[in-house]
Subunit: 137 residues, 2 copies
């Protein structure tokens, strides 16, 4: 995590207590939290942190490419700190849990040129939907 904080400082980030706490919350786990969950977890350490700051900080981390924003459904976006390794998502349609999985091929190769309609494609997202073991039971 000090890596992340160093990278951010190198990019001219002003290092505040709030930003540090948000970054630490995201770094802790392979779970992908919603903005509200990040806020709640951050507030455990820094009770007066505001929602606006959490939203701002998450947005900054996303535009710096340190975190990926995942919209799995019509619910709240989730934030995926694992931005540096190619991966895809497994989503439980019942409880909303998201897990990272790792692809065995390059999905972009599956789209023939004549199906690209002149688009310049920069990313491909693959989402597998189903039920996690707990919800299936």
């Amino acid at each position: 995590m000090s890596d992340l904080l160093e990278r951010l400082r190198g990019r001219g980030w002003r290092l505040t207590a709030q930003r540090r706490v948000v970054a630490e919350v995201l770094d802790g786990d392979h779970v992908h939290y919603t903005a509200d969950e990040v806020h709640a977890l951050a507030a455990e350490r820094l009770p007066e942190i505001s929602r606006a700051t959490v939203y701002n900080t998450l947005g900054e981390l996303v535009s710096l490419g340190e975190v990926i924003e995942v919209s799995t459904d019509g619910r709240a976006k989730r934030y995926d700190p694992n931005a540096h390794r190619a991966h895809q998502h497994l989503v439980c349609g019942r409880c909303g849990t998201i897990r990272d999985v790792h692809p065995s091929g390059d999905p972009l190769a599956d789209l023939p040129a004549q199906e690209r309609f002149g688009f310049s494609i920069s990313t491909v997202e693959v989402t597998y939907r189903g039920l996690c073991p707990d919800c299936a039971a």
Copy 2:
């Protein structure tokens, strides 16, 4: 479209003016509208139609499998009437346009069993993001 209305009636749908208009709006175009856009277009023909009815009807069409719900970003869901044919989406990150494209392989085959973590997977969504020819210019 009369096909769709017939199918719906066959499934016990009560055929009201509101439902007919919503189905017609969806059928009209290859564009994928948001619920609000559907409401606006439906209201051109049936001015008193309420938002709740549009949401209800869209939800029913989705659970009947006649329409697919697409969340491309954190914004409003869009409704894709092209549910009968397997396809994926090409999304312009600038203007939000969505185009349907057609896969050449089965993306589910790319996920090895040991990466499924016990999930029972029912669908796979693939989204290609980039810029459409107009926005790239």
